[in-house]
């Protein structure tokens, strides 16, 4: 019998969360949470070590009957599209624990339990190969995330938590109906691989496409259902923001890749222009909104909307460069925006203000910190040499191949990105030291360094040598494209 590696990866944090409930001492709780997440990360690396990049087939699959009467199974497995996100989730797991080490000072145990539960559910979403199982993971995430925002958030946390919960729930419920319809049209099975092989009538595909779109668009988030994001990000504690930005937002795009494209190819091709336009609107609109923000977290949140627009743009170009760029950009956004939220969190812990106007001249007070901030800002702007450059370049070349106007909008978004990010960096790091930072600010300590350094490594690694990352996704993306165009007609 082989070791069910994916099952271990998914359920290690869950077991850890259950075990934490019986621990009393806060310090023990912290160390245990760190231990569990690091163990999970190690397992994840072991998994990637055995990952075969030459095939698009699902790997490490494990399956068990769950509810036979309805054809529901417990099936896990990963391919080149999900593997990067399993890794990203595991990576950010322990970074989130480190980011909450001192920032969370009350109800530490409950926080870590929620964080670990969240981790298990997010990993489950990326590994699930059964639609029902996927939905259970997808929807159950609402519970810990609602608590993370609502209990440990800022002043407006209750409002933000409600908004997050209700938006996502309302979106997901249409998805649920879609799943059930797919079940009956696809031969009474929830198995994702079987469903991908079905050839559904166009009418059904269109209906399902929009049912899925509502759920995924809320999670991405796409304009006009993005309004929960700034509230949730601003109010959430640092770890909550990191998870939201780095992993949760990826799930919407992952949903498109896993369900909409392969299962509903004709509808995808048919509505791809609509999706391209929506993405372009998100890129420009998110960028413009970011330009007007004074709150650091809000700025990063709106930049997320803009960047995720670039991701969905890449996906719906439906060509190889666009798709590969989109997926790489998803990973990059996870690393870079996660790092930006972490940076904002670190400085907020010291000054307790997020207003850009309060900052200035940080470079003199905390040079190491500012160097990291510069790196992540440049990465977010997609400067050559950083990770986002590779992804953005691929997406843009895909976009111009698909639609000239949309490509132009994406370039405009990139320009806007440079504007608001440089403005932010200039005001925070350069210039004379202003009121807010006149008192002595300590530079990053060892714990913070441990959290931030890995992200910086990935920024440069993907920026300078993206080949191993693209290799992982390559076979699966090619297969995905064949699925879309094979059944959806040539574009």
């Amino acid at each position: 019998m082989t070791i069910p590696l994916l099952g271990l990866i998914v359920f290690t944090p869950a077991v850890g969360a259950a075990a934490l409930m019986f621990v009393r001492n806060d310090d023990v709780v912290r160390w245990m949470a760190l231990g569990v997440t690091v163990l999970d990360f190690v397992l994840c690396i072991a998994m990637l070590g055995g990952f075969d990049t030459s095939t698009h087939e699902m790997q490490f699959t494990e399956t068990r009957p769950w509810v036979p009467a309805l054809g529901i199974t417990y099936t896990l497995g990963i391919d080149g599209i999900s593997a990067p996100f399993v890794f990203l989730t595991a990576l950010l797991g322990w970074i989130s624990v480190l980011a909450s080490w001192v920032a969370i000072d009350r109800k530490v145990k409950e926080f870590m339990v929620s964080l670990l539960a969240m981790q298990a559910l997010m990993l489950g979403v990326f590994c699930a190969l059964d639609l029902f199982l996927f939905y259970v993971f997808w929807e159950a995430m609402l519970i810990p995330m609602y608590l993370i925002i609502g209990v440990w958030g800022g002043d407006g946390r209750v409002y933000a938590a409600f908004k997050f919960f209700l938006y996502t729930l309302a979106g997901s419920l249409m998805f649920l109906i879609g799943i059930i319809m797919l079940y009956f049209h696809g031969g009474e099975t929830f198995d994702i691989r079987t469903l991908m092989a079905q050839d559904l009538p166009f009418q059904v595909q269109s209906w399902l496409f929009f049912a899925f779109l509502i759920a995924f668009a809320v999670k991405v988030p796409m304009v006009p259902v993005h309004t929960w994001l700034p509230d949730a990000h601003v109010q959430a504690p640092t770890a909550g923001s990191i998870i939201l930005a780095a992993v949760l937002l990826k799930m919407g795009a992952y949903g498109f890749l896993r369900f909409s494209l392969p299962m509903l190819p004709e509808a995808t091709v048919h509505y791809s222009t609509l999706m391209l336009v929506l993405s372009a609107v998100a890129i420009v609109y998110g960028g413009l909104l970011a330009l007007a923000q004074d709150d650091l977290k809000k700025l990063v949140a709106y930049s997320s909307i803009s960047h995720m627009g670039l991701v969905t743009l890449g996906i719906f170009t439906l060509n190889l460069r666009g798709l590969e760029g989109g997926i790489l950009q998803m990973f990059n956004h996870g690393v870079t925006t996660g790092a930006l939220f972490l940076s904002v969190g670190l400085i907020y812990e010291r000054t307790h203000t997020r207003s850009i106007a309060d900052y200035g001249g940080l470079m003199k007070a905390a040079p190491v910190y500012t160097a990291f901030l510069a790196l992540f800002t440049l990465s977010s702007m997609a400067l050559p040499g950083t990770n986002s450059f590779v992804g953005e370049l691929l997406v843009l070349s895909g976009a111009f191949a698909a639609n000239l106007a949309v490509g132009a909008a994406a370039v405009l978004g990139a320009l806007l990105g440079a504007a608001y990010l440089l403005r932010m960096y200039r005001k925070v790091a350069l210039g004379p030291a202003s009121i807010g930072v006149r008192f002595k600010i300590r530079d990053v300590n060892a714990r913070e360094m441990a959290a931030i350094l890995p992200l910086a490594v990935f920024v440069l690694w993907i920026g300078l040598y993206p080949k191993p990352f693209l290799e992982i996704i390559d076979a699966s993306v090619k297969h995905l494209l064949a699925q879309v165009h094979g059944k959806g007609g040539a574009q």
Binding site: P65, W66, V67, P68, A69, L70, K107, E110, F132, Y135, V136, E139, A140, L142, I143, Y146, L147, G150, V151, R157, V158, A161, F162, F165, L166, L169, A170, L173, M174, L176, I177, I180, M181, Y183, F184
Partner: protein
């Protein structure tokens, strides 16, 4: 009736006989029990229920028609009876301390609950409109009295009076429908009704009769437009009785609804449209009105209206899966609703009423475990996986989509998104507020056991629904 047939009939109805006999014995014994020894009554009542449950399970092997087609002991009835036993035993366990606090722990309380149970059991087994009526009346008469059991409180009296009057009217409507059916078909037996109708099943007379019967039954499950009694009665009644009524008699009402709707006569008429409208309106009203409630019991009353609406969607779907989905829904609802009511009952201690939602502010700070249980029940009621409440809703939606009612499914999920708001609002109060005073919940071992059991059901059925689903599906196809 020959002696053998009589013996068979008695055998089939043995559990009912056990419960009624047990209730009568306890009524006499209760007079002999001295004050302060009421613990005995609780355990004796539970013993009666357990004996009946044993009988039911031993007789569950085959279909046993009895009393010339008035009564049947089939899998469908067994499923519902198990739900009733469960609800009754848990109510007994919750009642001990609460009844003492409120000063209502006399033997009549337990006897009436047992008699209500017997009424519900007869309803689940009845296959004739008249035996349905007998069971129904036995059940509601007892609940009228139980509602008014807090006789010192005007609120409780008012609730009981309202319940009696409205209940009487609805029973009258039901009986009128039965008399119309008898006039048109010459029988009140569910099986024979369809056979005797030769003409159009959409005969206006028949339709009228069916509508009247439906109206009478809809009252019992608390669906719109016969829901007005629910909030007042739920608020005024002793909380233990509210907990009981929200799951037991409601499930009994649904048992009858399903039996009547499984009937080919009713299935042939277009009553499902009425049921679908009732379901949608019931759910909408329950969900929207619950949004503005401050009283916990009232909120749960509206929540129970909303859940009745959701279960009604399963009735509207019809078919084997539709029926099974309603049954599974009721079983799961019993677990999660008794759980949350268990918490409210537990909070009633000394002068603390625990009836206002704000009373629970910051509860999570001092009582982590109990708050976590509340969280579990509330998210289950809201239908968030991996709790059982999600699977209950999911299966109803599957039944709806299977029959092609996609729009109904969309309405159902949109309304459950509304309903989710007021459940998570309570979560917000217990987790995101600072406590204003100390809490002193009356966590007796009996209450603790109830909470543990309901929690195990709420999470257990959610994670491993396969066995329960098969149970409901087997029971739904009859036989």
């Amino acid at each position: 009736m020959t002696a053998a047939a009589l013996f068979q009939s008695i055998l089939a109805s043995l559990p009912e006989i056990v419960v009624v006999t047990g209730a009568c014995i306890l009524l006499i014994l209760g007079q002999l029990v001295r004050k302060g020894q009421q613990q005995f009554l609780v355990w004796a009542s539970i013993a009666v229920v357990l004996i009946a449950a044993l009988g039911t399970l031993m007789l569950a092997g085959e279909v046993r028609p009895a009393y010339s087609g008035m009564f049947v002991a089939d899998r469908f009835a067994v499923f519902f009876k198990v739900v009733f036993y469960l609800v009754t035993v848990l109510t007994f366990l919750l009642s001990r301390k609460y009844a003492e606090t409120e000063g209502i722990g006399s033997s009549e309380y337990y006897v009436l609950l047992l008699l209500t149970l017997s009424g519900m059991m007869i309803m689940a087994s009845a296959t004739d409109l008249l035996s349905i009526y007998v069971g129904l009346e036995l059940m509601v008469l007892c609940t009228y009295v139980l509602t008014g059991f807090l006789r010192q409180q005007p609120r409780s009296n008012e609730a009981a009076l309202k319940y009696v009057i409205l209940g009487g009217v609805s029973t009258g409507i039901f009986l009128y429908g039965v008399s119309l059916i008898y006039g048109l078909t010459g029988t009140t037996q569910l099986d024979r009704m369809a056979a005797t109708v030769t003409g159009d099943p959409l005969d206006p007379g028949l339709l009228l009769a069916v509508v009247f019967i439906v109206a009478g039954l809809v009252f019992k499950v608390g669906a719109v437009p016969f829901h007005m009694w629910v909030p007042d009665v739920y608020e005024g009644a002793p909380t233990t009785i509210t907990a009981f009524m929200s799951v037991g008699p409601k499930a009994a009402g649904f048992a009858v609804v399903l039996r009547v709707f499984l009937n080919p006569l009713v299935a042939a008429s277009n009553v499902w449209i009425i049921v679908a409208v009732i379901a949608a309106v019931t759910m909408a009203l329950g969900s929207f009105v619950a949004l503005v409630q401050d009283n916990f019991k009232r909120l749960l009353a509206y929540s129970s209206i909303a859940h009745a609406g959701f279960a009604m969607f399963g009735v509207a779907a019809g078919g084997a899966d539709g029926v099974a989905s309603v049954m599974l829904y009721l079983l799961i609802y019993a677990f999660m609703n008794l759980g949350i009511f268990g918490i409210v009952i537990m909070m009633r201690n000394g002068d603390f009423s625990g009836e206002v939602i704000e009373d629970y502010a910051g509860f999570a700070k001092s009582h982590r475990g109990l708050a976590l249980l509340m969280l579990l029940y509330l998210f289950s009621l809201a239908g968030i996986p991996p709790t059982a409440g999600f699977f209950a809703k999911f299966y109803v939606l599957v039944a709806l989509v299977e029959r092609g009612f996609v729009m109904l499914a969309v309405i159902a999920v949109l309304l459950s998104a509304v309903a989710a708001y007021f459940y998570i609002r309570i979560v917000m109060v217990i987790y995101m507020r600072e406590p204003e005073g100390a809490f002193d919940p009356a966590l007796t071992p009996a209450v603790g056991a109830t909470l543990a059991f309901t929690a195990a059901g709420t999470i257990g059925i959610g994670l491993f629904p396969a066995w329960f689903l098969r149970l409901a599906q087997h029971a739904a196809v009859g036989g």
